[in-house]
């Protein structure tokens, strides 16, 4: 029976009951309406089901909340399904013992989030049993307390109403039990050795899952296991045991870092730790001898801007095919034998010489003011994992030659389980009829397999094949969170539990294992985790994840005890250990064994990688000893990258991530073809023009987006878009697909890049939406973005030594950058850039007149700000270090999750109504040094400075003055506060905000109706309604909580001190004194723990926040720093949010002047 006829029956059933009710009434039958007659709303609700909730709004594209409404409508049901009995499994909170759970106060549990298959240690915030926010676990080596956009947004995935809730067989919903009996019957009917049985998973780092797979393969010796994971495109080297192992870096130990196309600060599975380490080696240490002395240096060679590239002191944009020859040239300069000697232009040779010299003798160019390499001169080379094994081998050889192994890099036994087949071999076996049973555990290969594998087609054929009797010949099943593209091609679909719902274990980039601790019962009782699915495949359908994982770690615990030769502890001691593991979030004592690099010439060992399939020969699989083929310089090349927000496509239904402005392009809701200005000019296309990209026998049409810093004739496509079965968020309201599926052009042999791309103009334009006026600079008077030479002219950065004669806009001192040497020469350059006013305000200008005397910028007395005395009480302030900010967006999503910030949809973004409270301004600027020896004008390779802009909380806030109803006012603690109830939405405050950080609810953006959405909301933050202004509050809810905690604590202490004094004895007085001394320390402790959401998430700790009245607090110190300045301070707004100027550390020998010196 189809659903329509089911509805009909339900309706007629109700009509019958209405008739009955009517008949039961005495007298004339009068009724005002059927609802009155029916006496309940249920009937009409059923009638209304013909139209989905919110369907009336679908006609208007301006309404974006319709999808959230729709998303949520069905989850009410799921919530009810979740209310059934589950076996009792105790989970253990992170810090607070359960007996201290206070209603209204969140509890934090340590868990681990799977990120490209690897663990990121997380602390999940739980409000009365519902997870609301994810933070990094400070104890976990991969997150170090920080988080990335995916961690922050993953909590919304949990509540995604589009998640599947039922086991389905074809179109029919069925049950887990039915699936299990079908699977076991099928497996039993096959030959005993299991030939024809295939298992397809993503990268596996989970120790217990790895053992389950081994057991499965043992039980079915003929079975094969394959891995397909678009997020882990490791070359064969390292994956299948042929290479030196997996590289684990410690960038804090490196003085010079060379990245060969590796975005180790964002794409890598260890990126959070790497970003932190990198900044540890880069950050100044004010107040120590090392201040202004030690700073690492980063070289990046890449094709398209990456976040790591934005941090580079020297960056070279080259075609992807050039990266390996460059690596060879550098390797041979570093003394690696057999590296090959490709030749380049003389400028490039010079450049390479200088870089090689710097790698050999790090930071040697710095003047003798006392600068020296902090780590004794360690240089390290990082190679991207999406390049060929040869590049990995070259990097390994260079690290060996540089002696950095064991210092800044170590090679460990691969963390991922090895020995899997590829998806290509699986697909060819399927096509050849060698496969009859396919179990797909997670992932979405029908969508994200490279197009030439044709996986979707062979999977469809496999699922639909019939035997002679007309029965299904094969068995295909897919475990996935959504009924996605792959599920539609499989016979069976089993809902997958979210990591916050199910037990599991994972290992981090350095091998450290963690337990995935669930925080909530599965929202759908039908959902299973990968562990439970594998247990079913092994014949135990009812085994829970808890049992599986716990049972796996018990032998490990025993072994650990035996190793330590301690007294054998009783079994119940395991529970103690187990609880401590859960509480801390990591398992210690599970260090991965180091990889075994070959003796002698590393390159020779790596020449024959034990790779299952070498694929078609491309320029990239050329062995290191072969001379690098010189590709046609005019040929277009293509680069595939994971999208920085929706990743490989698994987050395509997450509205926070869809609407997150991509770093430096600020593109939202879709992807585009990125190219350089010169290339676009050559093609005769402009931004938004549609182009047809033909590559490897397929063609895709998509719009152009012009980005600076892109190598010419290189096209960058981001994967993860163009989903067809992702859910309501991923679908356009018009039913169109969002974005363009770049997997359609990808080849299995060379998934990361390729040459031989044909690009032609296509008719029409795209409708790309970027959250900033992309060509703001283009229309400036006297300023054209593309100059005649096709170069970008984005000079909007203030820099010492640069004339600032350009028209007004460039002279606003918003971003201030300098080199380390300039900083040494003039410690006050930041202030000096601000001009006379700032110099005088800081008492720096005209020594005689202003020595030590600060000049006020305003005529009004300094104290007169709303009657508050800012020298008393808590005075909150924030500082953002622009040297450290890598622009990763984690703060933006963290803020969104913490503060219940709605999403508005693509159209509203296009109308400049996005709601994120923090915007990250990316400023392109030129490197300040003298002409470079490679002849490249720095304008071609701009430096990007990221500037996150939250509310400035001006002491003299222009917004407060103009609000007619006093809805935005200043607090005694220096906060610029919004009273939402009072706001009537005149929007004058936004007009008068020079920073434009205020956000307005032009429509009812917030979702008050969807039950599942409500579960995620932070109960401490108001959900704003239509027509009110909102903005960054400095997470005032966190400040209030801390203030109350301090008050509670100090009040108690004061009482105790008084009680001790009460007896009048000297001992009592001493005790009282001791207790009173605790008061400030407890205050300092609590203030030290206080973090805003953005600060907490920041991987590089670029954000400092606190009470500036605490004399020794980090914020008080950083505000006095020489690099500290405020935006638009000349307006005398007195911002509480300040910035630290950006420092870079370019190599003097790369400038012509430096060479001759």
């Amino acid at each position: 029976m189809d659903s329509d006829s089911a509805n009909l029956v339900a309706m007629t059933g109700d009509l019958a009951s209405i008739r009955a009710r009517l008949a039961a009434r005495g007298g004339p039958a009068l009724w005002r309406g059927l609802d009155e007659l029916a006496g309940d709303d249920e009937f009409f609700r059923k009638l209304g089901d013909e139209f989905a909730p919110g369907a009336a709004e679908w006609d208007d594209a301006a309404s974006r909340r319709n999808f959230l409404k729709l998303m949520g409508a069905s989850l009410a049901l799921a919530g009810m399904v979740g209310c059934n009995d589950q076996p009792q499994e105790t989970i253990v909170p992170y810090v607070n013992p359960p007996e201290q759970v206070v209603p209204g106060r969140p509890t934090f549990y340590a868990t681990a989030m799977p990120f490209s298959g690897y663990a990121l240690g997380a602390l999940a915030e739980s409000h009365e049993g519902r997870p609301t926010k994810i933070e990094g676990n400070p104890a976990h080596s991969a997150s170090l307390g920080a988080s990335n956009v995916f961690m922050q947004a993953s909590v919304l995935d949990l509540y995604d109403p589009d998640r599947s809730k039922l086991v389905t067989h074809g179109d029919m919903s069925t049950s887990w039990g039915a699936f299990y009996s079908a699977m076991s019957a099928h497996l039993a009917s096959r030959r005993k050795d299991g030939a024809g049985v295939r298992l397809l998973t993503r990268s596996i780092t989970s120790p217990s899952l790895a053992i389950q797979i081994d057991e499965f393969l043992k039980r079915y010796p003929g079975a094969q296991w394959h891995v397909h994971d678009p997020t882990r495109r490791a070359g064969c080297c390292g994956r299948n045991g042929g290479g030196p192992g997996q590289a684990v870096y410690d960038f804090s130990k490196a003085d010079v870092i060379l990245s060969l196309d590796a975005d180790f600060m964002f794409y890598d599975v260890g990126s959070l730790a790497y970003a932190r380490q990198f900044m540890d080696g880069r950050r100044r240490k004010p107040g120590t001898d090392a201040d202004r002395q030690n700073m690492n240096r980063l070289y990046v060679i890449e094709s398209s801007f990456s976040l790591t590239g934005t941090m580079a002191d020297h960056r070279k944009a080259v075609k992807p095919s050039q990266i390996e020859p460059i690596a060879q040239a550098l390797a041979s300069r570093l003394g690696v034998a057999d590296a090959g000697k490709p030749s380049f232009s003389s400028e490039m040779e010079q450049w390479l010489d200088a870089v090689a010299a710097d790698l050999k003798a790090p930071l040697d160019d710095l003047r003798s003011v006392g600068l020296k390499a902090a780590n004794g001169g360690v240089a390290v080379v990082v190679a991207a994992d999406h390049h060929s094994p040869a590049l990995q081998a070259l990097a390994f050889a260079m690290n060996q030659a540089l002696g950095s192994i064991g210092k800044a890099v170590r090679y460990i036994e691969p963390v991922e389980k090895q020995g899997a087949g590829t998806i290509e071999s699986l697909a060819s076996d399927m096509a050849a009829g060698k496969v009859d049973t396919l179990l797909i555990v997670g992932g979405n290969p029908a969508y994200d397999a490279p197009a030439d594998v044709q996986f979707q087609n062979v999977l469809r054929k496999l699922s639909n094949a019939r035997d002679a009797a007309g029965n299904s010949a094969n068995f295909t099943a897919h475990l996935a969170s959504h009924k996605d593209e792959t599920s539609f091609e499989c016979q069976w679909h089993i809902p997958e539990s979210h990591y916050l719902e199910a037990w599991g274990d994972l290992r981090a980039y350095d091998g450290t294992p963690s337990i995935i601790q669930p925080l909530i019962l599965p929202l759908s009782s039908a959902s299973r985790s990968a562990w439970e699915f594998m247990a079913a495949a092994l014949g135990q359908p009812d085994q829970g994840g808890y049992e599986i994982v716990r049972a796996h770690w018990q032998p490990f615990w025993k072994k650990q005890q035996d190793a330590h030769k301690e007294q054998k502890k009783p079994e119940r001691e395991f529970q103690v250990w187990w609880e401590s593991v859960l509480r801390e979030g990591i398992i210690v004592g599970f260090a991965p064994s180091p990889g075994v690099p070959g003796e002698g010439n590393a390159l020779q060992d790596l020449k024959e990688p034990a790779c299952e399939s070498t694929g078609n020969s491309t320029a990239f699989s050329a062995g290191p000893s072969q001379p690098a083929s010189a590709p046609n310089p005019d040929a277009w090349e293509i680069v595939f990258r994971l999208d920085m927000c929706v990743w490989d496509g698994q987050y395509a239904n997450n509205p926070w991530l869809m609407e997150l402005p991509r770093p430096f392009t600020k593109l939202v809701w879709e992807n585009a073809a990125l190219m350089s200005y010169r290339s676009a000019e050559k093609l005769g296309v402009t931004e938004q023009s549609l182009i047809k990209v033909a590559y490897a026998g397929r063609a895709l049409e998509l719009p152009v987006l012009i980005v600076p810093g892109q190598a010419d004739e290189v096209l960058t496509l981001h994967l993860g878009f163009g989903r067809t079965q992702a859910g309501h968020v991923a679908d356009d309201p018009d039913g169109k697909i969002r974005g363009y599926n770049a997997y359609f052009l990808q080849t299995a042999a060379s998934p990361g890049m390729g040459i031989g791309v044909q690009i032609s103009k296509a008719a029409g334009n795209g409708n790309l939406v970027m959250t900033r006026s992309h060509h703001a600079m283009a229309a400036l008077p006297g300023m054209k973005v593309p100059s005649e030479s096709g170069r970008l002219k984005p000079r909007a950065i203030e820099h010492p030594g640069m004339d600032d004669q350009e028209i007004g806009v460039l002279n606003r001192k918003l971003v201030r950058t300098a080199t380390l040497e300039q900083f040494q020469d003039d410690a006050n350059w930041v202030t000096r850039l601000g001009g006379d006013t700032e110099m005088k305000a800081r008492g720096l200008s005209d020594e005689k007149l202003f020595k030590g005397r600060k000049i006020q910028l305003s005529l009004y007395p300094d104290k007169d700000h709303g009657g508050w005395d800012y020298s008393k009480g808590y005075q909150w302030a924030m500082s953002i270090d622009q040297t450290a900010c890598i622009g990763c967006n984690a703060c933006v999503v963290a803020c969104q999750a913490e503060n219940n910030i709605p999403v508005v949809g693509k159209d509203e973004c296009g109308r400049q109504r996005e709601m994120q409270w923090i915007r990250i301004d990316d400023w392109y600027g030129t490197q300040p040094n003298e002409p470079r020896i490679d002849g490249v004008d720095a304008v071609d390779e701009p430096q990007i400075t990221h500037q996150p802009v939250p509310c400035m909380h001006c002491e003299n806030a222009p917004c407060e003055l103009v609000c007619p109803v006093g809805a935005t006012t200043h607090s005694a603690e220096g906060l610029n506060e919004m009273t939402y109830n009072r706001c009537i939405g005149t929007r004058y405050c936004s007009n008068n905000c020079p920073y434009k950080v205020r956000r307005f609810n032009f429509f009812l953006f917030a979702d008050f109706e969807t039950p599942s959405r409500a579960l995620q909301y932070n109960p401490d933050v108001t959900v704003r309604s239509r027509g009110v202004m909102e903005k960054c509050t400095y997470c005032v809810q966190r400040l209030n909580e801390t203030r109350m905690d301090i008050e509670k604590m100090t009040v108690g202490l004061e009482d105790r001190a008084r009680a001790a004094e009460g007896d009048g004895t000297p001992a009592g007085a001493a005790e009282a004194k001791r207790i009173r001394a605790l008061i400030p320390s407890s205050q300092t402790d609590l203030l030290g723990q206080l973090q805003t959401a953005c600060q907490q998430s920041c991987p590089t700790q670029a954000i400092v926040f606190g009470d500036k009245n605490q004399p020794n607090s980090p914020i008080a110190k950083v505000r006095e720093d020489q690099l500290s300045y405020g935006l638009l301070e000349d307006l005398t707004t007195k911002p509480r949010t300040t910035y630290l100027g950006r420092l870079s550390n370019p190599n003097r020998k790369l400038s012509k002047a430096g060479v001759s010196a």
């Binding site: 606003r812 109308r911 400049q912 007619p964 434009k996 032009f1002």
Partner: protein, 469 residues
């Protein structure tokens, strides 16, 4: 001889009132427009058109309240759009009426007499249109009363530092005084209509409206002093309202707003656009109602001169803005000026210079001033120019202010245009009804004018005939 007007020459060549008019002819002509004349096809056509626009306005408002201000093109950074542009424009138009009635009354300008009544009506209708916008543009329209210092248990007051609060006071005061002034001035005429009405219901209606006016000497005496006092009260309001509106902008720190020239410049601009609207109404009206004898070329010529003067003040404002942005050395101001003249909205800037500065220079020519068609065209051009001027002030200032990363563009939506067109419809609907139901020219004052201009002998106004049957 002391009573002979100074502009005798002009008086003879272009009289304020066509010779040959008597008290009776004036009264008959004007009251017959209401009491004896059936509305023509043109009037019904006008009513249909304006009713259509008012329906559009109603729909736009209902939709606005149902959905939110997001239906307009406003965004961040341009959080004020058409609503504020229209508000300032309408308020400006509303200035001419009171300026004619009060300022010219106090300055004893005879020529005001035949245009003051409909100019005052125009003021009221324009203020009504203007008054809608500050409420409609609120995010939470249903909370508009927060703007008033009403008593509430929370003891909350509006923020008196905000110019928007003073805007509320200024506009509401202005609307109240204008209404009183208009109505008080109309009482003797309403009595005339009462007395000349044929049908009973009309008689009763005008009778109630005329507050029992009998034309006794004491009535006249009190009437005249009340009218003069109200004129005295209204005169400063002409200056204050648009000054306060100007301060809405100069109170902000936005480059292009934050300037002391705003209040006088706004007042001049208001009178400029107001007189343009007077001409827009007077020229078709004198044709349709055959009022050429009352609203003469002299009036049109005088309006032209006022347009020229106020236009020059406005031009001075533009020049001063440009000068100050250069002279101050302020980077933001100088960029703003540059951006206005050469940025993406440069066409609006050059349009206002053309409409408000260059083209009005033709008014130096008497031929232009005395050509009805030329003046009508001129009025249209100036109305357009003044609307665009407010667009430039509101939108081009906001779209590129301090942080280049937060710049934006403004794209008005259908609803923006619908609301503007709707208020224009509302304004003309009100005016068409006014022209049918109330005397468009003050009969009592016209009779006084007849008396002073044609009798050759001057008597105090108090002794002029109260009404003529």
């Amino acid at each position: 001889m002391t009573d002979v007007p100074l502009d005798t020459f002009a008086q003879i060549q272009y009289p304020v009132l066509e010779p040959g008019n008597t008290s009776i002819s004036v009264t008959e002509h004007i009251s017959n427009l209401i009491l004896r004349r059936k509305p023509g096809l043109l009037w019904w056509f006008g009513i249909a058109l304006t009713m259509g626009l008012v329906s559009l306005l109603t729909f736009a408002i209902v939709y606005l309240i149902a959905r939110g201000v997001g239906i307009w093109g406003v965004n961040i950074p341009i959080a004020w759009g058409f609503a504020i542009v229209n508000f300032v424009w309408w308020i400006g138009i509303g200035h001419a009426g009171t300026f004619i009635s009060a300022m010219l009354l106090l300055m004893r300008q005879h020529w005001r007499t035949s245009i003051n009544r409909f100019a005052e009506a125009m003021t009221l209708f324009a203020v009504a249109c203007a008054g809608m916008f500050p409420v409609l543009h609120l995010g939470r329209i249903w909370r508009f009363y927060y703007l008033f210092p009403y008593p509430n248990v929370m003891q909350l007051w509006p923020n008196f530092r905000s110019p928007l609060v003073w805007d509320v006071f200024a506009v509401s005061t202005y609307a109240t005084v204008s209404l009183l002034f208009w109505y008080v001035g109309m009482i003797p005429d309403l009595a005339t209509l009462r007395d000349r009405a044929i049908s009973k219901p009309v008689k009763i209606t005008y009778g109630i409206m005329s507050f029992g006016w009998r034309g006794s000497a004491i009535h006249w005496q009190r009437y005249q002093s009340t009218y003069l006092l109200l004129g005295g009260l209204a005169a400063p309001l002409v200056v204050s309202v648009h000054s306060v509106v100007g301060m809405d902008f100069s109170g902000g720190i936005v480059p292009g707003w934050h300037t002391t020239i705003m209040p006088p410049y706004f007042v001049a601009g208001a009178i400029f656009s107001g007189f343009a609207m007077v001409l827009t109404l007077a020229i078709p009206m004198r044709w349709a109602f055959k009022l050429q004898g009352f609203i003469t070329i002299r009036h049109i010529d005088n309006c032209g001169k006022l347009l020229l003067v106020t236009g020059l003040i406005v031009a001075y404002g533009y020049a001063s803005e440009q000068f100050m942005s250069w002279y101050s050395g302020d980077v933001y101001e100088s960029f703003m000026s540059m951006n206005r003249a050469m940025g993406p909205y440069m066409w609006t800037y050059w349009l206002i210079l053309s409409c408000n500065v260059f083209i009005p220079q033709l008014l130096w020519l008497r031929k232009v001033r005395q050509s009805v068609w030329m003046m009508f065209l001129m009025a249209m051009i100036i109305q357009l120019g003044m609307w665009v001027e407010r667009f430039v002030i509101v939108i081009t200032s906001l779209h590129r202010d301090f942080m280049p990363t937060a710049w934006g563009m403004y794209y008005p939506t259908f609803w923006d245009y619908a609301t503007l067109a709707g208020t224009i419809g509302f304004f003309f609907l009100c005016f068409l009804l006014f022209a049918r139901l109330l005397p468009v020219i003050s009969m009592s004052e016209m009779r006084e004018l007849v008396h002073t201009t044609h009798d050759g002998k001057h008597e105090p106004a108090e002794f002029s005939p109260a009404y003529v049957k």
